[in-house]
């Protein structure tokens, strides 16, 4: 369908979804490049990015947890933004709406699990605040990451799924 038959509300909501998604993609860059947390153990300071956290888990012999953190913190945020961008791009009147809504439902509910790293940092920061021998200090990267995750969730929220289909003229006339 052409944009003319589209309701202005859906149009506005799609612009909002795009804007939030672009903002999320921008914040994802510092989120992955800046350190999210500094660990000070026995006088040794070690600032780590998200990827460092995954490596640390891998090196301490926990490949299962490393895989979970890798998926939740590195893979899902990027994948969710890409999937949503492709869906928004081909809307309205998506050529394959059924596949699109399946992908949308999937990333919609999986995306929140990216918040995992924010909670890990929050807990470590709270637990190891006054440690004499070991301390954990949150770094700016975690703010960027939290923003990226929240903005992606808001973007998916703003998108109106019914515009994947052409407006439903038929069944209105035929009861």
């Amino acid at each position: 369908m052409t944009a003319a038959v589209e309701s202005p509300k859906a149009d506005r909501r799609r612009s909002l979804a795009w804007a939030l998604l672009v903002a999320a993609a921008v914040w994802l860059v510092p989120a992955n490049l800046l350190p999210i947390m500094t660990l000070e153990t026995l006088g040794r300071e070690q600032a780590g990015t998200i990827a460092d956290g995954v490596l640390r888990l891998l090196q301490s012999g926990m490949p299962g947890l490393a895989l979970v953190v890798f998926t939740a913190s590195l893979l899902i945020p990027i994948l969710k933004i890409l999937v949503l961008a492709v869906i928004y791009w081909r809307t309205p009147a998506h050529p394959r709406p059924r596949g699109a809504i399946r992908a949308y439902r999937l990333v919609y509910w999986i995306g929140r699990w990216s918040m995992l790293d924010v909670f890990v940092v929050a807990l470590l920061a709270g637990l190891m605040r006054f440690g004499v021998l070991a301390r954990a200090v949150p770094e700016p990267g975690i703010t960027a990451f939290a923003l990226a995750v929240v903005l992606t969730m808001l973007s998916a929220h703003a998108f109106v799924t019914s515009q994947l289909w052409e407006p439903d003229h038929g069944s209105g006339a035929n009861p």
Binding site: D117, V137, Q163
Partner: protein, 214 residues
């Protein structure tokens, strides 16, 4: 997911919540059934057990206060002890000048879980009283994705294993309350089946429309 765009019209009673397809309501209960166009589940095999959902939502609300305020983990590093609760880690983030992260953690763990369970409680109580849940049900649904205690639990598991090497840890009461809260919320949300709820609401609306349309 997103609300439908078209305003509800009088004749066909059922609108798919995902693709806004208008359908005739099924004449008889037919178990699980799905939208023919987008595959969203529109009907449920289960009847809505409002009483059970009420009880579970109330339990989750009671568990909330100890879950956020009591210590989750005690740590002992070479004789220096410490503990952490959800509220104390929010305070720590705030004092480390990570106000935004503190706000996100506060909203997703302290604010949204009880707010969402309260909305469910009020909605169920109103349904049981024969009324309409009104906005409370909408708030419950909007809040669902923003309450993240189950994600925090996984985060706690990862944080404690990262620490495990150079500190001795003891689990606190707060953690057990949090686990109980997650399980209760999980069952409550499962029982408050969205498809069953939608169909019940439509039924109420039809009944109200039949004798109440002026």
């Amino acid at each position: 997911m997103s609300d439908s765009l078209s305003p509800p019209r009088a004749a066909p009673a059922l609108v798919c919540h995902d693709c806004a397809l208008r359908l005739a309501p099924p004449a008889a209960p037919r178990g699980h059934w799905f939208c023919p166009r987008c595959g969203a589940r529109l009907g449920s095999r289960h009847r809505l057990r409002t009483q059970a959902v009420l009880a579970l939502a109330a339990t989750a609300l009671v568990l909330w206060l100890p879950a956020v305020s009591l210590p989750l983990v005690y740590v002992d590093q070479f004789g220096v002890g410490g503990s952490v609760s959800i509220l104390s880690s929010v305070a720590a983030l705030f004092q480390e000048r990570h106000g935004l992260v503190a706000a996100v953690v506060f909203v997703t763990l302290v604010l949204m879980p009880p707010a969402q369970m309260l909305a469910l409680l009020v909605a169920m109580a109103r349904l049981r009283a024969g009324g309409r849940p009104g906005r409370w049900l909408g708030w419950y649904r909007q809040g669902r994705e923003w309450a993240m205690p189950e994600i925090f639990l996984l985060g706690a598991l990862i944080a404690t294993t990262e620490l495990g090497g150079n500190a001795s840890l003891r689990l606190g009461t707060g953690l057990f309350c949090l686990i109980a809260l997650v399980v209760t919320r999980w069952i409550a949300e499962g029982l408050a089946d969205p498809a069953a709820l939608d169909r019940l609401l439509e039924q109420r609306r039809r009944e109200a429309g039949d004798d109440g349309r002026r």
